[in-house]
Symmetry: C2
Subunit: 336 residues, 2 copies
């Protein structure tokens, strides 16, 4: 087969690298015969891991990269200086057309900076947003921007809404996904300056299905598909979602084992509770695409397991098959 979809996997990024990254890669190619994974990182370590598995050699390539960018490094500096890091080497492969997507569980900052500086923006896109999905009662919603592009302007938010629409239609398969803007009330006159400026732009855009404001309280209900906001606010939402959910879950676990009676009860409830807890674990929804770049860049959670790496690789395949890049380009050029 010559028409592989080529996904670069940062073999060295994340808390469980390289083991989980390579296990996830093996699982992905064993399930999908149309993907080729390019593992970038310390060749020796990668090959040592690969030796543990049986797999179709045609579907994996190893590219050596001797440096690593840690999460604590200032990202702009790291991307500029560490030319032989797995992120820089991997992204260059995407930039040069040797691969279709880049996937990393490493430094979010470095991935965001590298995405812009190396992979580059689609013409007409000012700010490529980081767009994770968050769990809701009804499924998931796309939240963008959660990246590092703080202090955005209204036309950036309009672009986020368009890109999010292309993504939710193409990758998640939702027809006319509902778009809302994060606000501190549902009335049109409410909000800060940015929201007040953005609201009419969203209202008047024929390319999206804008339904108005959403208050943070209602986000977990899942009534809208795409939630648009400035990156500082998006980051607060994403992280608070994680924080409140994990704190509450740990407190509930503590409560469940606080008395003898409740301990017995907890044993009986465990399987049923596990499902709920899993559903609201933001970390499990791994792959957040960085939209609006010349090719796909996906950031998975730092603590990604093999299963999450595998799912993120599948996400890259679907992104490519659905030609989301072109759909985003179309949406942006339509109304600019």
């Amino acid at each position: 087969m010559s028409e592989f979809i080529k996904v670069v996997v940062d073999a060295m990024g994340g808390d469980n690298a390289p083991e989980s990254n390579i296990k996830g890669t093996i699982d992905a190619i064993n399930e999908a015969d149309n993907v080729k994974v390019i593992l970038v990182g310390l060749e020796e370590e990668i090959n040592k891991e690969l030796a543990k598995y049986e797999y179709n050699k045609e579907q994996i390539e190893v590219v050596n990269a001797t440096e690593n960018i840690s999460c604590n490094e200032p990202p702009v500096m790291a991307i500029r200086r560490k030319k032989d890091s797995s992120i820089v080497v991997g992204m260059k492969l995407v930039k040069e057309g040797k691969a279709d997507a880049f996937l990393s569980a490493g430094s979010t900052g470095a991935v965001l900076v590298g995405g812009q500086l190396i992979v580059g923006r689609i013409k007409g896109i000012d700010r490529p947003p980081l767009a994770p999905v968050i769990p809701t009662k009804k499924g998931v919603s796309l939240l963008l921007d959660c990246g590092a592009n703080v202090d955005a302007r209204s036309n950036h938010l309009l672009q986020f809404a368009k890109m999010g629409t292309a993504y939710m239609e193409g990758v998640i398969g939702i027809d006319k996904p509902k778009v809302a803007i994060v606000n501190i009330g549902v009335e049109e006159e409410k909000g800060n300056m940015l929201v007040k400026e953005t609201y009419p732009l969203l209202s008047n855009c024929p390319d999206i299905n804008f339904v108005g404001s959403i208050e943070a309280r209602d986000i977990p209900n899942g009534d809208v598909d795409i939630i648009v906001c400035e990156a500082f606010v998006g980051n607060v939402i994403l992280k608070l979602y994680e924080g409140v959910a994990s704190t509450l879950i740990s407190e509930i676990k503590k409560g469940l084992t606080s008395t003898f009676k409740s301990k017995i009860g907890a044993l009986l409830c465990k399987p049923a509770l596990k499902e709920t807890v899993k559903k609201f674990d933001v970390e499990k929804y791994g792959g957040a695409p960085m939209l609006g770049l010349n090719n796909l860049v996906v950031k998975t959670h730092g603590s990604s397991t093999a299963n999450e790496i595998k799912n993120a690789i599948f996400q890259c395949i679907q992104f490519n098959e659905e030609d989301i890049q072109r759909k985003i380009q179309d949406k942006i050029s339509n109304n600019d």
Copy 2:
């Protein structure tokens, strides 16, 4: 006793008015003999409710107000036009020195506008923040501003930190309360323009115990006492806290009753779980003070029960006894 602390209670505000408001008032005066409550609202309705109880008549006064401001009314207009509403009449009593505090479970917008326009700001305060406490693993943290003053400047945030410090020291009794600013990373160079401008002001202020940035993920841990942010962000945090906690709790309840086995388990766990759920119910922490006004204004949740009204009245007493107004004034004039 002539030296009563006088608290105005908006008898008509909230979903359970006037019943809960009056029951809460009765419970408060029966427990505290140094408080006098002035109930403002429809005299006839109030007196009908009061007739149900035995109480010391000296501790309750009724002031008639024939209009009501609903939560859906544009607040500025409502405060200007409805001169005979319970909020306007009640706040005027505070303004004129006939009472020490004003308490309402009614329209948040109207309370915030009325606080500024009628009760008035302390000299030197530019923006009086709404400062609710939110539940954490270790107790509570004060979150300010959660009001309607969006697009704040750095010197406003500095004032929030000082006012929050006076409040947490005086009312909650915490020595040198830790202050943090909401940020999207813990490093000093991270953040949006507002945070970057505010950070050094907080660092260099001798009147507060500034400990740096806090990411939204860490808010539920309760490691800091005072969380400072701009009102749009504060509103998002407060409401998302409520939204995620209540959604998760309802999903867990659903999970617990999803199988026969889990139903039995749920019965055994119920008392233990109830404690945890109660602890994380933001709505139960009712009284959010609006700080920096010439007198105290407290907003309790729209769905306030009699117990929450009672607790908010006690909060007003403590605010007065600890002379928080003067302490705020001192902190502000110290470093301006």
